[in-house]
């Protein structure tokens, strides 16, 4: 018992050190954002002397900041809406019929196989394709997100459904319910935990993605928050406090979101892990 207690104390100390490693970059980002240039040069690790807010007001006064914030929200929201509708719809028939039908089994392997194929291999052709279709903008971006989310989404939801017995559905069918009714009224609520997992994973991807937006969103009106901060960093590279403030503002929505949703996010990731 004493051994165990000592072990726990040791673990606690190790975890505390790790916590420090995680916290220091955030601490530096936050304190630096409230400093003037001169203040930063006089002490990088020191707390700011006062609440210097000019960095923030400079960023917030830029119209492109608000436009890109709105774009990020829009792209993430529409993308997730598409995922929440399309992925369960596609997964449900596959999960229920791949046991007895070759066609559905083929569809399953066809749609899941893409997990192993890295994005670079289709990156350039797909950009050309979107260009020739005339939708190399947010519309194309959303189509790529939905197409790209298919593999993992179908994989996770089908895996989850394999452990759900189908008595409920059969009873509903016997009572004369249509397939659509069974899906919307019975199966969708049943699938909800794994749908949350899929939405969290894709939400983090859509919100934080840099690669695809950098290839598709060329005008300031189209840009997302990630692109805004990248360009901002390029423009004001020498003004460290200003850049820190911009980075802080850019990650703030996610920080707040995580603060309130952490239980769901971690729970969702763990649920997906066990099913996958």
């Amino acid at each position: 018992m004493r051994n165990q207690r000592r072990m726990r104390a040791f673990s606690f100390v190790v975890l505390l050190v790790g916590l420090g490693l995680i916290a220091v970059p955030f601490y530096l980002t936050i304190v630096s954002a409230f400093k003037t240039n001169a203040e930063l040069y006089s002490g990088f690790f020191r707390l700011p002397q006062g609440l210097y807010l000019e960095n923030f007001s400079f960023i917030v006064s830029k119209p492109t900041f608000w436009v890109s914030l709105f774009n990020s929200v829009k792209v993430t929201f529409v993308g997730l809406l598409g995922c929440a509708v399309l992925l369960p719809m596609a997964s449900y028939p596959i999960a229920r019929r791949m046991g007895g039908s070759r066609v559905y089994r083929f569809l399953y392997f066809f749609m899941v196989a893409g997990i192993f194929v890295p994005f670079v291999v289709r990156m350039m052709p797909v950009i050309k394709l979107l260009n020739s279709l005339g939708i190399a903008d947010q519309r194309g971006l959303l189509l790529l997100y939905l197409g790209g989310a298919t593999c993992e989404g179908v994989f996770l939801i089908t895996g989850y459904l394999a452990s759900v017995p189908n008595d409920l559905e059969e009873a509903a069918y016997i009572d004369g319910a249509s397939t659509l009714q069974v899906f919307t009224r019975i199966m969708y609520p049943v699938m909800q935990p794994i749908i949350v997992t899929v939405l969290i994973k894709n939400g983090l991807w859509f919100w934080n993605d840099f690669l695809l937006p950098s290839l598709l969103l060329k005008t300031p009106e189209q840009r997302t928050l990630v692109l805004f901060q990248y360009n901002f960093k390029g423009e004001y590279a020498t003004q460290y406090p200003l850049v820190f403030a911009c980075l802080l503002v850019a990650v703030l929505p996610m920080m707040v979101f995580y603060l309130f949703m952490q239980k769901h996010i971690i729970g969702g990731m763990m649920a997906g892990a066990v099913k996958g």
Partner: protein
């Protein structure tokens, strides 16, 4: 199971087909067909802009194998991915075990350790670029330590470790949660009866914990391989491939060749080779862990 009246099976067939159609179309159009187009272009000499190009067979593939820049990127990227996978594996299993114990503040620790995952790779890279570029220099001045004074990202030999550190700092979060989830599938009784029988901690780890964790570890390694070989955001944010191209990753090289240097078909050929390597290593890796799982 038999339908009661009318012809509901036809109705079900049609609805099911309609359900699958949108995802199948999106996936085929934007994921599968571009790969096929890519394979075709990789055998041409198209620069991505002009109308005229001709079929040159496998010449792009031969060309890149003799290209010093490509080989340098391969060398950097393979060293990087091996270090990344090893460090990630050791650290995430260790962290998972630590966070699975009944330590004080466990819930808080779990939340805190997952937190880096919600921040984008680019933001994370930019934050660390600022810190490496400025913070360490001032710290070095303050403490009078010569080694800290220089920016690690500007050192041709050390830059790779700077990138690795940032990648791990953020990349550990999700694998750790996956390990935690894996650890919770181990029945409590198994551990308890083993320790009652006098098994040491190391024995329990080897004969009970590891076999249960293998499927999770296998998944983590497959994801880490893909992530490590495709690393782009961090490098762009941290070093932009420098100093002197020493940290130019394959994806970054492919992007530069394809979009800036008008070597479209060569870039695609390189990306296809990269994909083949990733798929082959993943398959081998999954086979190995599956075999271990059966006998383990």
């Amino acid at each position: 199971m038999k339908p009661r009246k009318g012809n509901p099976t036809l109705e079900r067939d049609v609805t099911h087909a309609l359900f699958i159609m949108p995802s199948l179309l999106l996936y085929t159009l934007f994921s599968v067909i571009p790969i096929l187009i890519g394979v075709y272009y990789s055998m041409t000499n198209w620069n991505g802009i002009t109308r005229a190009y001709k079929f040159i067979g496998l010449r792009n593939y031969v060309k890149m194998l003799g290209d010093a820049r490509f080989l340098r990127a391969v060398s950097f990227n393979s060293r990087y991915v091996i270090m990344y996978m090893l460090c990630l594996l050791v650290l995430c299993v260790a962290l998972g075990l630590l966070l699975n114990q009944k330590v004080r503040w466990r819930g808080f620790f779990r939340s805190a350790y997952f937190f880096p995952a919600v921040i984008g790779m680019l933001s994370c890279g930019l934050i660390f670029r600022q810190i490496f570029g400025y913070g360490f220099a001032t710290l070095g001045d303050l403490l009078g330590v010569e080694a800290l004074k220089s920016n690690i990202l500007a050192d041709p030999d050390l830059a790779i470790f700077g990138v690795l550190f940032v990648n791990l700092w953020q990349g550990l979060a999700i694998p750790t949660v996956l390990i935690l989830a894996g650890l919770q599938t181990i029945p409590m009784e198994l551990n308890e009866s083993a320790s009652l029988d006098g098994a040491s901690g190391a024995q329990i780890f080897r004969h009970i914990t590891m076999p249960f964790l293998l499927p999770t570890i296998s998944m983590i390694l497959v994801l880490a391989l893909k992530e490590g070989l495709m690393i782009y955001d961090y490098i762009l944010a941290l070093t932009d491939g420098g100093p002197a191209g020493r940290t130019e990753s394959l994806t970054m090289l492919i992007m530069k060749l394809g979009f800036n240097e008008q070597k479209f078909s060569l870039a695609i050929a390189e990306s296809i080779l990269l994909a083949i390597v990733i798929i082959m290593v993943s398959v081998v890796q999954i086979n190995i862990t599956n075999r271990k799982k059966v006998y383990g």
